[in-house]
Symmetry: C2
Subunit: 176 residues, 2 copies
DNA sequence: ATATGTGAATAGGTTCACAGCC
DNA sequence: GGCTGTGAACCTATTCACATAT
């Protein structure tokens, strides 16, 4: 498949796609294009998603329990292996497939299973404190839904998702 | 409050914050800083979030019903005034505060209430078709959770949110 | 003294143009 | 002939340095 076709599917320009790919090596054949299967393999290798990755979710409130029920992570190679909350709501627990453990169980769980990624859906007021705990337990990547800037050591990566900001963004662009 | 303090809270450099603000005007006083209240007012004015904005949600599956239950939009000035699905699940409807209407009700609803923004949480296979409908009804901004590139006319703005990609992103950066 | 606003310098990212290879 | 890979050109965004205002 040509970079042109791939680019169209991804919504970018073909030159962009080619340049981006070459940062990791040469995967195409001139005059022909890219071998899709080989390309997919190299991408999962690069991203580190070739094996199923365990993830924990912290904060089983509205958004958290929503994400627990969301099955979109699995087909991309992520499994939410544990959910934690300060005070697990037994009604919520029944709705969710996974049991919701208390925060006290978190350190042992993370260390035992070698979990490296966490989805953080606690209230903003608790986010930094929980983050500190996560970092201490060896979590290296945090997908943060709390609307604050988390303070973490350099070796920990934070990815922020703020749904309200996404809407505000839209709101600005749709103004006549 | 100084740009320095604001910048720290936002997780950016102070010069960045100042330059960004001046794209919209001059709001600070030299030697003193910014009047927080006035600044907040000008930002909501600029974003168009000073009045409560109606939003619809289309696709009440796992993620969709999750977002319906999520209360984080409201305090930023957005209200999900309607939810739509091809085949509303009566069990889900009972869980949600809002009634879930069928897709057939969508056009009249949107036109009547002058809704301009939509949250799209339908399966990828249905996303483009639903988008076409939304555009026809006059929706000008779409917050798209489906993992595809939506084709829309120039005057319509699409903001993509892909939670799986966010995790993949993390996965890459946490590799030893 | 202190902090903004901003031109100039720098860095970063995207697109062009085309050489190189199938 | 067709399509990749890539230096060069271009464009955009960030940071610096400092004049300017309180």
């Amino acid at each position: 498949m040509s970079s042109e076709a791939l680019a169209k599917a991804a919504g970018v320009k073909s030159t962009q796609l080619r340049k981006d790919l070459t940062y990791f090596g040469q995967f195409g054949t001139r005059g022909l294009g890219y071998d899709v299967e080989q390309l997919a393999r190299m991408i999962t290798d690069t991203l580190g998603t070739n094996s199923l990755q365990p993830v924990i979710l912290v904060g089983v409130g509205n958004l958290g329990s929503a994400l627990l029920r969301y099955r979109g992570f699995e087909k991309e190679g992520f499994e939410i292996v544990g959910a934690f909350d300060l005070a697990p709501d037994p009604r919520r627990a029944r709705q969710n497939a996974k049991a919701v453990l208390t925060m006290g169980d978190l350190p042992a769980f993370v260390r035992q299973r070698g979990v490296r990624m966490a989805i953080l859906t606690v209230p903003a007021t608790a986010a930094q404190e929980v983050t500190n705990t996560l970092v201490q337990c060896g979590i290296a990547g945090i997908l943060n839904f709390a609307p604050i800037v988390l303070q973490v050591p350099e070796e920990v990566t934070v990815n922020n998702v703020n749904l309200a900001i996404e809407l505000e963004n839209l709101s600005y662009f749709i103004q006549d």
